[in-house]
Symmetry: C2
Subunit: 251 residues, 2 copies
C-alpha cells in the first residue's frame, strides 16, 4: 500500500470519489485503488452514525486509515447541515495543510446531486481537488429495470420529485408539469420520499403510468424493481421513477 503522504512543504490533495449506486463491485478501479491507498478518508453520516458511502467502500478501507465522519442532519433548515460541512472542511484543511491527501467517499457520482459539492465549494480555492466520476443511480436503475434510457436523438430530463410537485418553487413546478413531462422522451424523477403519492398522481394525469418503472435501492441487497402501477405505497429517499416513452424505437 502506498501511503500518499507528502512533505510539509506541499499541501495535500482532495479526492472526491464516486462509489456508484450501492453494489461495491460497481465502484471504479480508480476509486477502489484510491481508497486502498488512502491515509485519510472522509464521509457523511446520518444521525446515529450510519454511512451509506462508508458501507459501499468498507472492503477497501485498510487498517490504520484515519476517518473523518461528518454528521449531516437531514433537516429542511439548511443551517445545521452547512455547519457540519464547515466543520468537516475545517478538519480536512488541517490535514491538507500538513501535506496529507484526503479521499472523500461519495455515493453515486460526486457532482450529481452529491453532498461532496458542499465540501468542494469550501475547499476548491485553497487546495487541488480531483474528481473521480462514478456510476450514477440513473444508469444503475435502467440496468436493473432492463430499460434502455435514451437512443439516437432522444432527450432525457432528470428532476427531483420536490421540484416536480412544486413544494419548493411553484413557478418552476408549473413549467415542469406542462413541459418537462411532455417535451422529454425519457424522464427520471429522483428523491421520491414523501412526494411519492403526488408524483404518481402527476404521472397518471399525464397518461404516463404505463411507461413508468419504480426502482428502490438499485443494485443493493434489498433492491425493488416494479412497474409503477404495482409499486409500494410509500417510497424511501433512495428511490426513483423512470418514465421511458420510446419503447424499442431502435429496432
Amino acid at each position: 500500500m502506498t501511503q500518499m503522504k507528502r512533505g510539509p512543504q506541499k499541501r495535500g490533495k482532495v479526492y472526491g470519489i464516486g462509489l456508484g449506486p450501492g453494489d461495491p463491485e460497481l465502484m471504479t478501479l480508480k476509486a477502489a485503488r484510491l481508497i486502498r491507498e488512502a491515509a485519510v478518508i472522509a464521509y457523511p453520516t446520518l444521525a446515529g452514525g450510519a454511512s451509506f458511502a462508508r458501507s459501499i467502500a468498507a472492503d477497501f478501507i485498510t487498517d490504520g486509515t484515519r476517518e473523518i465522519a461528518m454528521d449531516v442532519p437531514m433537516t429542511v433548515a439548511r443551517g445545521p447541515a452547512q455547519a457540519a460541512y464547515d466543520q468537516g472542511a475545517s478538519e480536512m484543511a488541517t490535514l491538507l495543510d500538513s501535506g496529507q491527501d484526503v479521499v472523500v467517499l461519495c455515493e453515486g457520482d460526486p457532482f450529481f446531486y452529491g453532498s461532496f459539492m458542499y465540501l468542494f465549494a469550501r475547499l476548491k480555492s485553497a487546495y487541488d481537488v480531483e474528481i473521480v466520476p462514478g456510476v450514477t443511480s440513473v444508469t444503475a436503475c435502467a440496468a436493473v429495470a432492463k430499460l434502455p434510457l435514451v437512443a439516437r436523438n432522444e432527450v432525457m430530463t432528470v428532476l427531483p420529485a420536490p421540484l416536480l410537485v412544486g413544494t419548493q418553487n411553484r413557478q418552476n413546478a408549473d413549467a415542469c408539469h406542462t413541459d418537462i413531462l411532455h417535451n422529454a422522451d425519457t424522464i427520471i424523477v429522483m428523491k421520491l420520499g414523501r412526494h411519492f403519492a403526488a408524483v404518481r398522481a402527476l404521472i397518471e394525469a399525464a397518461g404516463l403510468t404505463e411507461n413508468s418503472v419504480y426502482i428502490e435501492r438499485a443494485t443493493g441487497a434489498d433492491e425493488i424493481v416494479k412497474p409503477l402501477k404495482d409499486a409500494p405505497e410509500t417510497a424511501p429517499y433512495f428511490s426513483m421513477i423512470l418514465i421511458v416513452k420510446g419503447a424499442d424505437p431502435w429496432l
Copy 2:
C-alpha cells in the same frame, strides 16, 4: 480465469457491460472481472477495424478469448448499421445456444445512447441479458471540468446536438430552443460533431456562452477542456458542452 462455459442443456447469458468514458481505470470492478473471465467478447468497430470499446478494455482481455467484431458503418442511412447488428446478434446467438456466455463491450453505459441497445432489442426475448452500468461521459465531463452538475432540486436535461439544431425534427427543435435551454438548470449537449457551430450560435443567442464549457474526449489522453468561448472551431463526435447556470448555489 473462470471460463464461463455451460453445458449444452443451458443457454448462455449475454452481459452488456459499460466501460466508462475512456480511462480504463474508470471501468467498474465488475466490468473488469467479467472481461477477464470472458470466453467470448463482442464489440462494434468502425470501418477499418478500430474499436474504441476494445481499446478501453484491452488490458483485461486474456489470451484465447474469442472476439466478435461488428463493423458498424456510420452512415445517415440506417440499413447498413442494422444489418451489422443483425449479423452480430446472429453470431452471438449461435454461441449462446451452445451454452456459452457472451460479454458485449460498450463505451460509457450500455443504456445511455449506447449501440448495445440494438443488440439488446434483438436478443432480449430469447436470452438472459444482464446489464452492468458504467460511468457516463456526462459525469466524466463534469469531473474533468471541475463543474458540479446539479444540486438540491435542480433540473438537468441531456440532448443530442442534432435535435437541438433541428436537423432531424423541426417541431421538437423549436420546443428545445424555447424551453429546454430555459427551463433546465443544467443542459448537456451531446454528439456535437458537424452541428458544433449551430449549437454555439444557439447558446450565444440564449445568452448562455459564459455558463458553458466545451469538453472533448474526457478522461482520454487527448482530452480537451475549455470555456466554450475558447473552444476549437470544429468538434469531433465524442465531445459535449456542459451548460451550468447555477454556479455555486449550494454555499
